[in-house]
């Protein structure tokens, strides 16, 4: 019997090892959401990000001059916009007071720089040089001057990993700014799409897409992208809306983390509602 197994091992050891390792890999995938695995990953990438941040600083020196020029131009444009918006802001505050609406702006921002990027077709992530010590927590949205970049996935003391919108695990409630139609946006491996949009809904190419207030992750409106077209699904009652993001994820260098986590009070309220017998 032993000799039989030894002969099988001798003849097929490459395949046996392959199968064992593939099964281990599949097994590991199922443990991704375990808190213990998350802690190990936070420690691992936190230590490694110390090295990558040094290299990233060196590589970014070459780009500082051109970026400085670009930022000066943006600064001039923004200064003019700010003057206009200041007037709108005063009007807005007065009108909100009149309507007794709650102010949704003014969330604190945590500035951070990208220390590394893992670009892949389906699971793009970036590492930022801000972590638990700066107040970053998983679930916080990450933005820049153009719009939403992604969601914080994991944090160590000084670094955090962000899943960008080009990650199939990120699904966000968004809405059409013009028609106020809500939908769920996700990355399908090729492009951003809003899925399950009823065929009767009015969504046109060129419409601005922003995050929706109904989102449990980002309950404030942040710009996401522009609707570029509608994929007409021949069967069923739903279409898909293709979205071009405002942010070029390959060029992102400096970002802000919106210090905003989902409301425990709101969650408890909603859970109570759903749990009611």
């Amino acid at each position: 019997m032993v000799r039989f197994f030894l002969r099988i091992w001798e003849n097929f050891k490459e395949y046996i090892i392959l199968v064992i390792l593939l099964i281990t890999s599949l097994f590991t995938i199922s443990f991704n959401k375990s808190p213990a695995v998350r802690n190990v990953r936070a420690t691992a990438f936190g230590s490694f990000a110390v090295v990558t941040s040094l290299v990233s600083d060196l590589t970014s020196i070459a780009k500082i001059k051109s970026e400085n020029r670009r930022l000066r131009e943006i600064n001039a444009e923004l200064m003019m916009q700010v003057n206009r918006l200041r007037e709108f802001g005063i009007q807005n505050a007065e009108l909100k007071n009149l309507l007794v609406l709650k102010d949704s702006s003014g969330y604190p921002l945590i500035p951070a720089s990208v220390v590394s990027k893992s670009i892949s077709a389906s699971q793009s992530t970036i590492t930022l040089n801000a972590g638990k010590n700066e107040g970053v927590r998983p679930g916080m949205p990450v933005i820049n001057d153009l719009g939403l970049i992604g969601i914080v996935f994991n944090t160590s003391d000084d670094f955090s990993i962000v899943r960008t919108l080009k990650n199939i695990d990120v699904k966000i409630a968004v809405k059409d700014e013009r028609t106020r139609i809500d939908g769920i946006m996700k990355w399908n491996g090729d492009e951003l799409v809003i899925i399950n949009v009823p065929k009767t809904y009015d969504v046109q190419p060129g419409d601005r897409i922003i995050t929706s207030e109904i989102s449990s992750i980002i309950p404030v409106p942040l710009p996401v992208g522009i609707a570029t077209g509608i994929t007409k699904v021949s069967t069923g009652i739903f279409n898909e809306v293709r979205v071009r993001p405002f942010v070029d994820f390959n060029r992102v260098e400096h970002v802000f983390i919106l210090k905003l986590v989902e409301s425990v009070e709101k969650n408890n309220l909603e859970l109570n509602f759903y749990n009611r017998k």
């Binding site: 490459e14 991704n32 691992a44 080009k166 491996g189």
Partner: protein
């Protein structure tokens, strides 16, 4: 003798640093070459199939752990790529396989397989066009990786292959 076990793992870390800091700067339309696959194919061809399979597993595990991708997906893809690269580790033909264009073709095969497995695992649903997916997510990064491998292998000293 033991150097053959720990040198590729030690080399993995600086290569990964380059992969996630410098390589995004040469991305073409979001497509980047995979230096880890080149390293994996190189060391697998210098050793044997079991070595390549285990090395792919270790590289995949470290890659997933340190970059925040779905833990297990690169493990699966790189284990398979290491296994396939192992078919080209024949001692008698090794010298021939290490000729630049042959090496680039082997890298292309392994890189396409790696990209397709990762994409297949994470982004396939009922509406996915498989041919388009293999072309866009598999072949394009594969070609880019094999071109980079060509550059590396041309400048590599020939006698160290033996």
């Amino acid at each position: 003798m033991r150097a053959k076990y720990y040198i590729p793992i030690l080399l993995f870390f600086p290569v990964l640093v380059i992969q996630i800091t410098v390589i995004p700067l040469i991305a073409i339309n979001g497509i980047i070459p995979d230096l880890i696959i080149i390293l994996l194919v190189f060391y697998t061809m210098r050793n044997n199939q079991i070595y390549g399979t285990v090395l792919g597993f270790i590289f995949g595990f470290l890659f997933d752990l340190l970059t925040g991708t779905l833990l297990g997906s690169s493990m699966l893809a790189k284990t398979t790529s290491g296994f396939i690269a192992g078919y080209f580790s024949n001692e008698n033909k090794r010298e021939n396989y290490f000729k630049s264009y042959n090496f680039a073709l082997i890298v292309l095969l392994c890189s396409v397989l790696n990209s397709v497995i990762i994409s297949f695992f994470s982004s396939v649903d009922v509406n996915t066009n498989l041919v388009a997916m293999i072309f866009q997510l598999g072949l394009l990064p594969g070609f880019y990786t094999s071109i980079i491998s060509l550059i590396i292998i041309i400048f590599y000293p020939r006698r160290s292959f033996s």
